[in-house]
């Protein structure tokens, strides 16, 4: 049995392979946690799940060896008043590895834009070291903070410790996020807080949706999950168009703002013709060595020129967002990109219009949707025509089906 820092770790020859290489390794992190846990216990610290990280290493090693999982998924949501945010998980090796027999996950509602103070992070870590395995996952694919592994009887105390952290520890309180057939925790890019391209206040929108729809977030009653993601510009840093049922993607209506002096400055270090003009997918840009011209009617908001020349080019002044409906990212079929449902909503009307639409969509989907049918699938079944009646929109040529349907694949021409 290998001994590290005076702590015995289980033999894990298969997992050890995943530690090799210069990149970060989850195996390294679990081993570090196992060592820290044992040291803390030796120092007299009370740990609710002693040996959890060691147990997890053993289960993982066995899963690789047996070529099957040893987890049983699903279970009770034992936090009073909540129907989501806890995912039950049991290990089928309770006799061999009792340390991780119960290994439930708790999802925590992250702040909009994923901004934390060190104090807030310390609160989460302290609570989780006390009531759980000490292992976390920052962040899950919906965006929540994932706390990995605790027992049923610790779910309520852990939720209380987080909810009342300010009163109990002088910490920063956190609420549980969404799971199951409910509104999943809304997420947003960092938006205007850190990014000059943001065409609307993503953080405000995310906060408003989270606060307004607490019932939908915590009390699952729908046919299946529903995700809202807010991206400030068409760069779509939170992958809203591919990963959310309701994607709000910032855009502009007028012309890209150009600072010609700044373009000329860039021209001293960047080949504008090669790296900007020729890369424009609609050939909307021209450059004569002195002046950059953009035919805005041809612009498809790919953001390439703005990304390459951020000091010289900016989104237009008439800002707002495009709404896409029905995106999702299932494992088997791959990403399904949302369908443009509303081409443009001005920034000052955005949140209220979105709320009106969301409530109408939920009402329709809840009534018509089949078990485990996402809203996008319901639109395929019933037709976009019916959906547009629900959201009170007229068909429009700009309602593009699955725009940019391969945004995450970078390929080279075969002859390159």
């Amino acid at each position: 049995m290998p001994v590290v820092d005076g702590v015995e770790l289980p033999e894990t020859p298969l997992l050890d392979e995943l530690e090799k290489g210069p990149w970060p390794s989850f195996v390294k992190e679990i081993k570090k946690t196992a060592i820290e846990q044992e040291k803390a216990m030796k120092a007299g610290k009370k740990i609710k799940l002693p040996g959890a990280a060691k147990g997890l290493l053993k289960v993982l090693e066995l899963a690789y060896k047996d070529k099957r999982t040893h987890w049983k998924h699903g279970g009770i949501v034992s936090v009073i008043g909540y129907g989501g945010g806890v995912i039950g998980r049991y290990c089928d090796l309770e006799d061999q590895i009792p340390e991780v027999w119960h290994f439930h996950t708790i999802r925590i509602n992250m702040p909009a834009g994923w901004f934390y103070t060190t104090k807030a992070l310390r609160t989460i870590c302290d609570v989780w070291e006390k009531w759980g395995s000490g292992l976390t996952n920052f962040h899950g694919s919906t965006g929540d903070i994932i706390l990995l592994g605790t027992r049923t009887e610790y779910l309520q105390p852990c939720a209380n410790a987080l909810a009342y952290a300010d009163q109990l520890y002088g910490g920063v309180p956190f609420d549980i996020g969404g799971s199951g057939s409910d509104l999943r925790t809304p997420s947003a890019c960092m938006g205007p807080a850190l990014c000059e391209f943001a065409c609307y206040d993503t953080l405000k929108a995310c906060y408003e949706f989270t606060m307004r729809y607490q019932n939908e977030l915590h009390r699952p009653m729908w046919p299946y999950k529903f995700k809202i993601k807010c991206s400030g510009c068409p760069n779509d840093c939170v992958a809203a168009k591919a990963r959310s049922d309701f994607a709000i993607i910032g855009t502009w209506k007028d012309e890209i703002q150009i600072d010609q002096e700044a373009v000329r400055e860039y021209a001293k270090v960047i080949d504008i013709e090669e790296h900007v003009v020729k890369k424009c997918p609609t050939k909307a840009i021209s450059w004569d060595g002195k002046e950059l011209k953009i035919n805005n009617r041809e612009c498809i908001r790919c953001m390439h020129c703005i990304n390459v020349l951020p000091k010289a080019l900016k989104p237009g002044k008439e800002r707002g967002a495009t709404i896409l409906i029905g995106g999702k990212a299932p494992f088997v079929d791959g990403a399904i990109i949302g369908w443009v449902a509303v081409p443009f909503i001005p920034e000052n009307e955005l949140i209220e219009k979105c709320c009106e639409m969301l409530e109408a969509i939920w009402e329709w989907w809840d009534e018509e949707g089949k078990f485990r049918e996402r809203v996008g699938e319901l639109i395929w079944r019933k037709g976009m025509d019916e959906f547009l009646k629900v959201i009170n929109q007229k068909a429009d040529v700009r309602m593009v089906y699955a725009p940019r349907n391969n945004p995450f694949i970078f390929w080279r021409e075969l002859n390159e």
Partner: protein
Amino acid sequence: MTEEINKEELKQKILEHLAKKPWQVRDLAKVLRVKKKELDKIVQELIAEGKAAYWSSGSTTYVTTKEKLEEMEKKRSGT
């Protein structure tokens, strides 16, 4: 008064169904021929009263009685 009695009867019927297996509210609404929205409210009341509870697979959520849930959890955890 009559409405209250009917609601209590309905609650009882719901609990009888929930005691047999976990249900998706929409399916139970069809079986009981009740509007889903109405059933949503009653199920919430039953949960608040501690008579019903959620069971979640992580991706989808069901409702059942507290007793049935405990029985399922015992089975699931292998005790």
